[in-house]
């Protein structure tokens, strides 16, 4: 039991670190390239938000910003905090709630990648317009996948484990 917990903890930590590392190229590299009437425009996630905001689509920009930047970042931050707090008797109830939220939100986190894959499949209008996924998307997806598995391996029971053993 103790061994299992140790391994799971390690796995979760490794995956969170992976996510944190990958989060940097995921946001720097362009996730897709839109070519509209010859105008080739490589877009990073943040660039895409900017583009949307410049186009006057403030609310949508907000949603994309939340879903693509804030939420993954918050997930990583939350998971990091949970893992750092592992074994601590403090805020165990709140930590359990946070883990639950992270786990629930996680099932929606791939929506960007899903959207991008649909865009790339549909948006092939020959010379006029085309959308192509870029390596950034791969990194982005990798961030999401690693957080998913991280939150999966760090189950809620482990929150309640302290160095003294399971809390009563």
């Amino acid at each position: 039991m103790s061994m299992d917990v140790q391994l799971r903890l390690q796995t979760a930590r490794a995956l969170v670190i992976t996510g944190l590392i990958l989060y940097i190229p995921a946001n720097i590299l362009p996730v897709m390239t839109m070519t509209v009437v010859g105008d080739v425009e490589p877009l990073t996630v943040l660039g895409g938000v900017q583009e949307l905001y410049d186009s006057g689509l403030g609310p949508i920009a907000g949603i994309v910003f939340l879903a693509s930047i804030v939420v993954p970042f918050c997930k990583l931050a939350a998971l990091s905090w949970l893992l750092l707090m592992h074994g601590s008797p403090l805020w165990q109830r709140q930590r359990g709630a946070l883990r639950r939220i992270v786990h629930t939100v996680g099932s929606w986190s791939m929506v960007d990648i899903f959207l991008l894959s649909i865009l790339a499949a549909v948006g092939q209008l020959g010379v006029l317009a085309s959308v192509r996924a870029e390596p950034g998307a791969l990194f982005f997806a990798a961030v999401l996948v690693s957080t998913l598995f991280a939150s999966e391996s760090y189950n809620s029971r482990m929150i309640w484990q302290t160095k003294e053993g399971l809390a009563p």
Partner: protein
């Protein structure tokens, strides 16, 4: 792993107590390593793919966006504009360009950067892809030492891929229509183009032309350049030729070059050449020849051509005014093949359009500008300095006042309005020209003229000169002739000469000739004949013609009134002397309207004339008295007819009354006189020659005058021969079936008042005709 209790409580427990292995490491640590490695590799490769950063300065950078605008080299993205800024004085835009690693070679001196933007012009349409893709930065590689700061070109270079092998300067006094992009042709192949049109420090224009690498060797040190105009139209005797050098050349013109003569050496970059005005000028590469003209009418440096036998052989390179000598010095160059034309004795004549004098020969100069005609000398050394001639009035004298012409003098009472240069025609050919109008020692106006040598033998002493009016109209019944002896004569008139009658000795220089007013005056060569008229109305000296059988045979030379009469002096043309034999009749023919008919209708148009009826023989005379036209007509009739005399005690039959045979008029009453002792009236009747055989000694003549009205039982028959018979009366005659013998002219017949019945039934068979 933790211990588990055996629920079945097995008696033996083979398990061992194992210490937990705290140092176990999850395989999941592989992921962060992988992620770190991937990210690191990504950043490293990104960093590695970046070459050096260069700065390019532009006057303006339209459509350039930092971080987006690519640098294209041969169509491949070779870098990215990373930032844009203005310089400190806000005069320039400075682009920072991060080159890719493989394009690091672009950071060298000589690299040309320009902004590719859509340019739509007549010659070069470029950058169309920039219309949809946005402007881009473009580069053409240089090969200098490494550099990092560049000054961008504001315009697209003409050879975007490679730097041109050869840049030449073409100098010209003025550069008309050529402009950036105008093609450069070598024997019709485009080998380059005009890059720019610039002014040097001293303000002289020059063209920078670039020659593509593969054609660089076609330019040699002795190449000659000339512009080809967009279109050239050549109008010549061969027709109209329209030269088109392709659509591009139509819009932009072009420059052509070629090498004439020996091949030259290769040229270096930046070599200077002269842009000649046209191909002829460019082809004329011979040694300079100096020709001095007294007057430089229209000579234009670079344009005026030298022609030999009408073919261009050279051109005037320079024309300068020599104030000291009061002359125009020209420097001409011949095409190498024609260098031998300017040998000793060559004659250069400036030919320019002179409509008034050279109506035909100057016409080509009218279209093409004046040119210099070159006639090489008989041989000898090639010379390089000549004295040119000007083909003007004075020039004619200069050129032609030599052994080759025959000077003569024409005298006239009144000089016609003819100036110098008026042509002298011999049967339509120009045989000479008038040189001057002067007064001779005696105060008579004279025309000094020359006759060309080849015509001199057609000019005997007795040649007759006359004026050819600018245009003449000849009108007559059925004839309307408009005579124009040619353009030149139309403007100025002309003088013609010819020989009538046998030629005498050839004229010698200085021979004097009389100038007659017209051709008919000149043709009237006989001695003067004096004719006295009772009425000289309408007779015009120099105009009224003398005609024989309707054809002009002479002219009235003068008309002078004398007491009670008018005396006209006429002259007859050569060969009509028989008209002035004794007994010839001369009568003034005027318009005459009578019952008999209208005669002389032609005089309404042509004016009156003198009709001449020659007598059959006799010595030549030179004094005559005119007769009436009727008399003249009768004289003519008499000559041709057979005359008999009809006698009657009294008759109403008048002169001119017709004489008919079986209703056909065969003769006329010529005269009505008192015969012999005055008891009878004699009618002289002329029977036309063909019908003379109808008159026999037993022929009966009767009076056929008046109206015959026969009143029958049922009818009223009015018989009338003609209106004429009603007025003048008439004669009729019949010959019995048993023919009598022929009578002699002058035979007398009695006039019967009316025919007997059997006379009218006579119908003898008599051959008529001559």
């Amino acid at each position: 792993m933790s211990e588990t209790e055996n629920p079945k409580n097995e008696p033996e427990d083979h398990g061992k107590i194992v210490r937990p292995r705290r140092a176990r490491v999850s395989w999941a640590w592989f992921f962060p390593l992988l992620a770190a490695a991937a990210t690191a590799w990504l950043f490293w490769s990104n960093w590695k793919s970046n070459g050096p950063t260069v700065e390019v300065e532009f006057e303006s950078a339209p459509g350039i966006q930092a971080g987006k605008t690519p640098l294209l080299f041969r169509g491949v993205t070779a870098g990215l504009v990373s930032s844009l800024r203005l310089d400190a004085r806000l005069q320039k835009v400075i682009l920072k360009v991060r080159l890719k690693e493989f394009a690091a070679g672009l950071a060298r001196e000589g690299t040309v950067f320009w902004i590719d933007q859509p340019v739509i012009s007549l010659g070069n349409t470029s950058g169309l892809d920039a219309l949809i893709q946005g402007n881009s930065l473009q580069a053409r590689g240089g090969d200098g030492p490494p550099a990092s700061y560049f000054v961008g070109h504001e315009t697209l270079p003409l050879t975007p891929l490679e730097s041109p092998a050869l840049v030449l300067k073409l100098r010209a006094a003025n550069i008309p229509f050529l402009d950036r992009g105008s093609p450069l042709y070598y024997r019709g192949v485009q080998v380059g183009s005009v890059e720019n049109k610039e002014l040097d420090e001293s303000g002289n224009p020059y063209l920078r032309v670039v020659v593509e690498k593969e054609f660089a060797r076609t330019v040699q040190s002795n190449a000659r350049f000339w512009p080809v105009s967009a279109t050239s139209i050549r109008i010549g005797p061969g027709g109209v030729k329209l030269d088109l050098l392709g659509l591009k050349a139509i819009l932009l013109g072009g420059v052509q070059f070629d090498t004439f003569g020996d091949p030259g050496t290769a040229v270096k970059n930046g070599a200077e050449f002269t842009l000649y005005t046209d191909e002829i000028a460019a082809r004329s590469t011979g040694a300079p020849v100096r020709i001095t003209f007294r007057n430089g009418h229209g000579i234009q440096a670079g344009q005026t051509e030298i022609r030999h036998l009408g073919i261009p052989v050279g051109f005037v390179e320079a024309a300068t005014l020599n104030v000291a000598n009061q002359s125009v010095d020209t420097v001409v160059r011949f095409q190498p093949a024609y260098d031998k034309l300017h040998n000793t004795g060559a004659v250069f004549t400036l030919v320019r359009p002179q409509i008034s004098l050279e109506g035909v020969s100057g016409l080509e100069a009218l279209a093409g500008g004046p040119y210099i005609d070159c006639v090489p000398g008989p041989g000898g050394e090639i010379a390089d300095s000549f004295s040119g001639l000007t083909f003007t009035d004075d020039g004619i004298t200069t050129v032609q006042d030599g052994k080759d012409v025959l000077p003569i003098t024409l005298l006239a009472k009144n000089l016609p309005p003819m100036g110098k240069g008026t042509p002298i025609l011999y049967r339509g050919l120009i045989a000479g020209r008038i040189l001057a109008r002067t007064l001779d020692a005696a105060g008579t106006p004279v025309l000094e003229a020359i006759i060309h040598k080849e015509f001199a033998r057609t000019l005997p002493r007795n040649a007759r000169f006359w004026r050819v009016p600018a245009a003449s109209v000849q009108a007559g019944p059925g004839v309307l002739k408009f005579d124009m002896p040619g353009l030149e004569a139309l403007l100025q008139g002309a003088i013609a000469y010819d020989v009538f009658g046998p030629s005498e000795n050839a004229a010698t220089p200085g021979t004097k000739f009389e100038l007659f007013a017209g051709e008919s005056a000149a043709r009237a060569t006989s001695p003067p004949i004096r004719i006295t008229f009772e009425n000289g109305q309408g007779l015009l000296a120099g105009e009224t013609q003398v005609r024989y059988l309707g054809q002009p045979v002479g002219l009235v030379e003068s008309v002078s009134p004398m007491t009670g009469k008018v005396e006209a002096v006429i002259r007859l043309n050569d060969g009509y002397d028989f008209l002035r034999r004794e007994g010839s009749a001369f009568a003034v023919m005027r318009l005459n309207v009578s019952l008999n008919g209208v005669t002389g209708l032609e005089t309404v148009v042509s004016g009156i004339y003198i009709e001449c009826v020659p007598s059959s023989g006799g010595p030549l005379r030179d004094r005559f008295t005119a007769v009436t036209p009727a008399k003249a007509a009768l004289e003519l009739k008499e000559q041709r007819g057979f005359e008999v005399v009809i006698t009657a005690p009294q008759t109403t039959i008048a002169v001119d009354a017709p004489v008919s045979y079986r209703g056909v008029v065969v003769g006329k009453v010529l005269r009505k006189t008192l015969a012999g002792d005055g008891r009878d009236v004699g009618l002289s009747v002329v029977i036309d020659r063909p019908y003379a055989s109808l008159v026999r000694d037993n022929t009966k003549f009767w009076d056929a005058s008046g109206m015959k009205i026969s009143l029958g039982f049922f009818n009223l028959k009015v018989q009338n021969a003609s209106l004429e018979t009603l007025a003048r009366g008439g004669l009729a005659f019949a010959t019995p079936d048993e023919l009598g013998s022929r009578v002699k002219p002058g035979h007398e017949f009695p006039l019967n008042p009316k025919p007997r019945r059997e006379w009218l039934r006579w119908a003898p068979s008599i051959p008529t005709g001559n």
